[in-house]
Structure formats: structure tokens, C-alpha cells
Symmetry: C2
Subunit: 172 residues, 2 copies
């Protein structure tokens, strides 16, 4: 490790940022909603985090240039679909071309929102706040209801690959 | 799964929230800083998420009643120490009694901040924004510099236990 008190260049900083968050693992959810004209919209998010238990709130971060961002508005309803380890193809699909995300029978409509059939948990939420950070935004969700399915090993994203949880080896 | 259009009670909602985020896995970091009088302060966070690459920013969420929160102020410097799978005892220690967190030789001072010796990555950051949500806050960090150590399997927290990453079984 090196220690320097000079500020790194923006290129060095970008490399550091990318390498750091490549190594940081996150749980995978698919956020789903509908556009103004009722068209299903959905996207994979790996930044979901709990914010508060009472009232029940969570956050995720997203880039505003995303095709899905126009559907994410203050007060709008969003379903958060927690993916299990077996659903890595869905995690990939909802990070791929927008026109392919809902092509198929892997989802259904529930309470007016598209919902992923195989999600381990579905939370029905409402956007409570959106904090603007230049090209990105922090979205705060208020959880209004939800359904807990069978307990599944979670789907994780790490080092540009999907993975799941394993015990820590106590011998390490 | 059941569908209901009535609002669940606050107890039901709290159970749903707890069960959901118990199942959601997160990467484990230790945030370290110093108090007004120079005393080291540190805490385990499982909500760290990237916000933007340019400028390099990340977020984490914390409860304001935490003993560490008084040290987290706008403009203050925080080191983010990313823990590897072998460092689960450190993840536990920095979630335990405050007086035991820095008791030992598992840390050193670097650029005026306490830094965890075995961290895979250390980011030197400055608090850019704090968004108040009742008893909780969203903290936005601007990354100013950092050091990338050896690539380690990440430490994760899931279902009240520490774990690490494993490949997804393609046969599922």
C-alpha cells in the first residue's frame, strides 16, 4: 500500500472506484413498475439497502440516464423482487435490452404491478423521496406490503458475475 | 402467496421488513473516523452501495441513535475499510461494544484516520451529504483517494451470520 497526500488524478480515481466496487458484493433485486401508459418497466439493482424499520424504508441508487428512470417518480409504486440463487438468468435479463425484459411468462400482474414469479420476497413500495446527485439518484422506498415466499439462497453480484452465499471458512 | 388490498398492521409490516432484510445479503465494510477530540470511532456497515463513478461517490445508511453517529458530520473524513472473508471477527467486533472496537493491534493510523490493517480496500472519503429520515440517515461519501490491497473473497452478512461468495450452481 502506498501513502500519498497529493490528490489522485480523475483517471486514477475512476480506476480505484471501479476496482473497489467490482470487489464489493451486493444482493440482487429486480425493481418493477409501470410507465405512464401502463407498460411494464423493470431493472436489476444491486444497491438495495434497508434504511429504517419504522417506518419501513429502503434505498437504492440508480443512474438517471437509464431507460427505466423516467418511470421512477415521487409517489409512484414499485415492486421490489428479491431474487434467489436459481434466478441468475432473471438478474441478467433485467440488466439487458429493455424490450426483452418482459418477453416471456416469468412474471404476472399483481396489484397493478408486474411481479416476478420466482422472487423469494416481493415488497410493494411507494417512492418516498428521490435525491438528485448529478447523473445519479438515491431513491427512497416506503414499504407498504409484501409477500414472503420460500426461503431461498440469495442471488449476489460480485466481480461482474452472479453468485450466492457460502459459509465463512473458520480455518482461514 | 396471498393478495390483499387492505393495509397490513404496523406489526405485520415490521415482521415483513425484518424477515426480508434478514434474507438480503450485503457486503461488509467498517467505517472509521475520529471524534472531535481525536478518539477513533468505527462501525460495521452492510449497506454500502456505489452511487456514481464521476464524481466517485457511495452511500450508506445508519441509525442516528448509534454512538458513532455524532462523529459522522458533513465534511468530515471517513475511511471505508472493505473486509475480506477472513476478517469476520473484525466485522463482529465493530458491531459490538464501542470500547472494544479499537482495543488491540488490528489497526493503524493513516492520513489522520484509523485504518484496519487487513482491509482488502481502504477508501479515504469525505461526507458530501447527509439526508435525514427520522431516526435514520443516508450518508453520501465522496471518495478522495484509497489503496487497493490483495484481492480477497468478500465478507458478506446474511441471515444474521457472516459468509462469503460462492458460484451459482448452473444446474439449479
Amino acid at each position: 500500500m502506498t501513502t500519498t497526500l497529493t490528490r489522485p488524478s480523475s483517471e486514477t480515481l475512476l480506476d480505484l472506484f471501479r476496482n473497489t466496487f467490482r470487489r464489493h458484493a451486493g444482493g440482487v433485486v429486480v425493481c418493477t413498475t409501470v410507465d405512464d401508459d401502463g407498460t411494464p418497466v423493470g431493472f436489476t439493482a444491486t444497491s438495495l439497502a434497508s434504511l429504517s424499520a419504522v417506518p419501513p424504508r429502503a434505498t437504492f441508487n440508480m443512474i438517471k440516464s437509464s431507460s427505466s428512470f423516467r418511470a421512477v417518480q415521487l409517489g409512484c409504486r414499485i415492486a421490489v423482487n428479491f431474487l434467489g440463487a436459481g434466478s441468475h438468468e432473471l438478474g441478467q435479463r433485467f440488466a439487458g435490452p429493455a424490450e426483452e425484459r418482459f418477453a416471456g411468462d416469468h412474471w404476472h400482474e399483481e396489484r397493478g404491478l408486474p411481479v416476478i414469479d420466482d422472487a423469494g420476497v416481493v415488497l410493494f413500495t411507494k417512492v418516498a423521496s428521490i435525491y438528485d446527485h448529478g447523473e445519479n439518484a438515491i431513491v427512497v422506498l416506503e414499504i407498504q406490503d409484501g409477500t414472503l415466499g420460500d426461503d431461498q439462497d440469495p442471488l449476489l453480484y460480485h466481480n461482474r458475475r452472479f453468485g450466492t452465499i457460502a459459509p465463512v471458512d473458520p480455518a482461514r
